[in-house]
């Protein structure tokens, strides 16, 4: 994705679930408890206010930021911890998800959502997946699941949004295509 030189730019990117597999050189955060929510003063931006830049189309070349991959991997590893050999349903596998990513300053906001093409037409799911805020050094700052309200109870929310900044970066694509392009 193009970089524009400074952290004032926000980018919206959609990445297929398989991307994290390729960011193997980053360190991982120790497992977070299921009830962990992190800093609830962090407010998520709307992930669909803009169209996403789709990353992974066939026969194109992409240059992906290492910190972006690190952030997506941290989020996906938390959402679906790697290494388990137990049998999983289709929606229990990272390749069944896409990640929609917005960078705002030093924070990556990531929406992990089901790839509608991944698990066939057997079921319909609402509010599955999760939202994450991940720091530029790969630490998960906030986890939100379901249809959680914004942090309105916090007196002075720290919205990581930057007024006037350009928004969004979302990598989204089919797994097999992404796997071949990274």
């Amino acid at each position: 994705m193009p970089r524009q030189g400074d952290a004032m730019h926000l980018r919206h990117l959609a990445v297929a679930g398989g991307v994290w597999l390729f960011a193997s050189c980053v360190r991982s955060q120790s497992a977070l408890p299921a009830s962990w929510e992190g800093d609830r003063s962090i407010v998520f931006p709307p992930f669909y206010a803009q169209s996403a830049l789709q990353v992974g189309a066939e026969a194109k070349v992409y240059a992906l930021d290492g910190r972006l991959l690190q952030a997506v991997r941290a989020a996906m590893d938390d959402f679906i911890p790697p290494g388990s050999r137990e049998e999983r349903p289709c929606w229990g596998k990272p390749e069944s998800y896409r990640s929609r990513v917005i960078r705002e300053g030093d924070i990556f906001f990531i929406l992990i959502h089901e790839d509608p093409d991944a698990c066939g037409a057997q079921y319909v799911g609402v509010d599955t997946g999760a939202r994450y805020a991940v720091s530029i050094d790969g630490r998960i700052l906030r986890r939100s699941v379901g249809a959680e309200p914004d942090a309105i109870q916090v007196p002075e929310p720290v919205d990581a949004g930057i007024p006037g900044a350009e928004r969004m970066l979302e990598p989204e694509s089919h797994l097999q295509v992404d796997g071949g392009t990274l």
């Binding site: 959502h113 319909v124 609402v126 509010d127 914004d150």
Partner: protein, 217 residues
């Protein structure tokens, strides 16, 4: 109902026990709202209330189908609660089979009008994932169904309650988005019980699966 995540059935059973066939979809929606919100932990109430965090962590989403039957009436399926503690222990949301079986009718005679669920806390709105789910529904069932009332777009509904105290009358309103629409609509009853419609966001589709959703703030 709960399913083994590895063995989700192809069809969800209907009707919901104790529910009749409804003459209108609206009647079915108004019946479903308190039924869903009265389920255990279906409402954590308002996010500004005391001890909300505890209730939120315990809260659950339930989902069901509102479907149209050959008798030209509307029915509710059984409810699904699909949280899966065996996987990561924290994911919420609700997954249900894309089809319903109702022993009163041939399986392929049913038409799917609304996918219903609750949002356990307020303030809320339809989520982006709800709208994405509707896009998947449209791919499975088609975007419209033919009824006695004419051709209707299929939709997704999120019921909510401002109170964490479950009661048979818990229903403070719901959000609706129908296939192809430009708006997410919020329905709330006024003091006299008349339902009022307000815009809760705008939706613009850029392809069959990509859309922009700007919630009303």
């Amino acid at each position: 109902m709960r399913f083994d995540p590895l063995r989700m059935p192809a069809r969800l059973e209907g009707p919901m026990p104790g529910t009749p066939l409804f003459d209108t979809a609206w009647d079915a929606l108004l019946a479903a709202c308190p039924l869903i919100l009265a389920q255990p932990n279906a409402s954590a109430g308002n996010a500004g209330a005391t001890s909300f965090d505890v209730r939120w962590r315990m809260s659950k989403e339930y989902c069901a189908w509102l479907y149209y039957v050959p008798d030209e009436r509307y029915a509710l399926s059984k409810l699904v609660e699909s949280s899966d503690p065996t996987r990561n222990g924290f994911e919420q949301g609700c997954r249900a089979p894309a089809f319903v079986e109702d022993s009163r009718y041939p399986p392929d005679s049913l038409k799917y009008l609304y996918f219903l669920h609750n949002h356990p806390a307020t303030p809320t709105n339809l989520s982006e994932r709800d709208i994405a789910a509707l896009a998947k529904m449209a791919r499975i069932h088609g975007g419209y169904i033919e009824t006695k009332a004419g051709r209707l777009p299929i939709g997704v509904i999120a019921f909510y309650s401002n109170s964490s105290a479950a009661s048979p009358t818990s229903c403070d309103g719901f959000y609706e988005y129908t296939y192809g629409g430009a708006e997410v609509v919020r329905w709330t009853p006024d003091e006299e019980g008349h339902w009022q419609r307000t815009r809760a966001g705008t939706v613009t589709w850029t392809s069959g699966t990509e859309f922009r959703f700007v919630p009303t703030r």
